[in-house]
Symmetry: C2
Subunit: 274 residues, 2 copies
Amino acid sequence: MNFINKLNAAWTANDSLLCVGLDPDMAKLPPQFQQDPNGIFNFCKEIIDATADLACSFKPQIAYFAALSAERQLEDICAYARENYPHIPLILDAKRGDIGATARQYAREAYDRYGADAVTVNPYMGSDSVEPYMEWADRGVIILCRTSNAGGSDLQFLNVDGKPLYQHVARLVAEKWNSNGQCALVVGATFPEELAQVRAIIGDMPLLVPGVGAQGGDVEATVKSGRTANGAGMMINSSRAILYAAQQPGEDFAMAARRVALETRDAINAHRAG
Amino acid sequence: MNFINKLNAAWTANDSLLCVGLDPDMAKLPPQFQQDPNGIFNFCKEIIDATADLACSFKPQIAYFAALSAERQLEDICAYARENYPHIPLILDAKRGDIGATARQYAREAYDRYGADAVTVNPYMGSDSVEPYMEWADRGVIILCRTSNAGGSDLQFLNVDGKPLYQHVARLVAEKWNSNGQCALVVGATFPEELAQVRAIIGDMPLLVPGVGAQGGDVEATVKSGRTANGAGMMINSSRAILYAAQQPGEDFAMAARRVALETRDAINAHRAG
């Protein structure tokens, strides 16, 4: 089953648009994991087990593993997720951007080494920085379009023929790069009207949407702006709000993560129809 | 000594603008390295030893190591270069692009784990995807501006207020992001007139210039377009033309690499003045 079909199935099976992000920051992990040489794996494994029936995807962020020389633990957590929850798409958040032979190495890293169903990619170097990924016909490529950080506007909001750059990226992907139906886009949740503009350009292409936590006031606007006609089309990511949901020392972090994941999933679902 | 000072010193000490790129493609390595579990390290070590007096920088491309699960060998080759050739800047070509806490993880990876003097970074996510690197005050950030691949024009050549996007990136870096003097830019060698336009915008900021091999017909145009008034300002990269210079089985690959590195350095130097 290819990435898009697997994602569609996961949206339905778990009745969820929630993507659980895995950003294991050593300083924030419960103390038992900080002393454990396999602590990153063990922490992520418990998060995955606690949320797998509530998520439409898992998204490890490779930077957190690379900074700790923990590639082996990332391999292990990816293998664990694939083996135990094969119906949940696994997204490697790596935001790779290079061309030709080098891009092919990054594709091998994401798809063959880590077994990811999809990888995030930066569009700045253009079509031949995306094409090499397409050789893995059953996998997905999730292209940065509009990011919700303060500096996101530096380039993405530049005026190109009367439209902001990010809309050109959305159009390029929808009209050219997505010819095999393997693409999705990253669009942040901060500006719902921009999410709606991108949705209008890209049809039913999936969106990966960071920037919504359990406390986010904009869940309603985000979902209403980004959903497809059938009330899906989005992977709404939450990382830290779920991973570090436990408020007090001694509180069960996995139960707290599950509670926040459930609340977030339900807050999203409240606005998928109608 | 910070990155820019170290680079200036290396330009002078080795009378060279040549950056030796380390892209170890297993299928292209001499057979003795393909069978060696430490073959990537050993191959790169011999290339470094053979070219260290001819280079102004070494640039390992992390994708080639990551695809082969060879991060330990990358750590080792970076440590080897730093210890044996501490006056030659070490550039990690990673083209990272992410924000805030995640960008800081990538900076830790490049600067602390691999000990790189500088790292390549993608500008698409804007200022707060570059700022976290600046906390390492003695290191450099080399930002993608204009790449010479076929798809490079997809975004970089879009018309923003009458100028192509890449010139806005050059201006953003020169006027805003480079306030600490830690930045350099990547500009490909394919279009010398664009190199000249970028040089006119950025003053003496260093350029990393891929796309020139020993056989490249455009060495003259590249150097004349990109050089600073004192005949420096560029790291002109060559990877495969040097690494895989040996033409016949049994030919000494390191001697062949040295020969091509010397030819390339001299071809560049012929056009630095005047």
